[in-house]
Amino acid sequence: MSKVNLYKFSAPATFYGLAGQMIPGFAILSAILFAAGLYISFFVAPTDAQQGEAYRIIFIHVPAAWMSMFIYVVMAVYSGIGLAFNTRLSAMMAQALAPTGALFCFIALFTGSFWGKPMWGAWWVWDARLTSQLILFFLYIGFISLQAAIEDPKRADRAGALIALVGVINVPIIYFSVKWWNTLHQGASISFSKAPTMAHTMLAGMLVMAVACWTYTIAIALYRVRLIILERERHTTWASEILGGAK
């Protein structure tokens, strides 16, 4: 019993310090990677034969789209752990990841439609991939609003965890249903042509940007989770010691 308690109470406290040490590393790494990624995007990668320069949006669009999906899954994993083992830290991690995930989701939608306008002549079409990305965005917003609406942090953690898990089970269902819905209709919709076989440099650029986004996400999530820990634990002695030091 006492061991569990010790574990429960000390985890956020020790993690607070640990996270503080990790943040600068990831932040610097991500700045370097972003710089390198942007350099490749604009100066190394050649112009696309079909799409001209507009295709360069791919270097932000695709990493953002990937991130938005990964982050949701990671959030759900944290939530599952939190519900199963009643660890507060994992719920806080899920909560810290959500806004960044929603942000990348938004960026994917935004850059996608700024790509679509010159390519398809429309800001938005009801393509399967686009639609499911939009729904993913709604799932993020649902998670965030639910947590924001609940005052009591314990209840917010557990309610959020539940909806994240329900959502992640539904994501594949949604994805396939949307896909089927779209392909069955076909009709006048503009077919989504995959980019031509990508040059190695393009792939490299996308990958570097994706890793940059990952390190950015890690740094930001750690930063946010520290704030959350501090808010939650403000009445404990270790928190006030930190506050004393921070002043």
């Binding site: 100066f43 320069e53 932000i60 700024f114 010159p118 704030l227 506050l243």
Partner: protein, 61 residues
């Protein structure tokens, strides 16, 4: 090097608006996230400091 001149770089083969909007807004959003977080940290520390001073003065009374 892909670009003959700086203005060609800015012009982006006629897609300047779309490309620069995408990158600009994306990085602006990331920057805003960082800014909002640091603001949140400042206000939090200030508030906690107040609470603590209050407690300290209560304790000494």
């Amino acid at each position: 090097m892909n670009w003959g001149s700086f203005s060609a770089f800015i012009h982006m083969g006629g897609y300047a608006f779309y490309v620069w909007s995408s990158f600009g807004v994306s990085f602006a959003l990331l920057g805003m996230e960082i800014w909002l977080l640091s603001k949140r940290r400042r206000t939090l520390l200030k508030r906690l400091g107040q609470i603590q001073r209050l407690n300290a003065s209560k304790g000494s009374r």
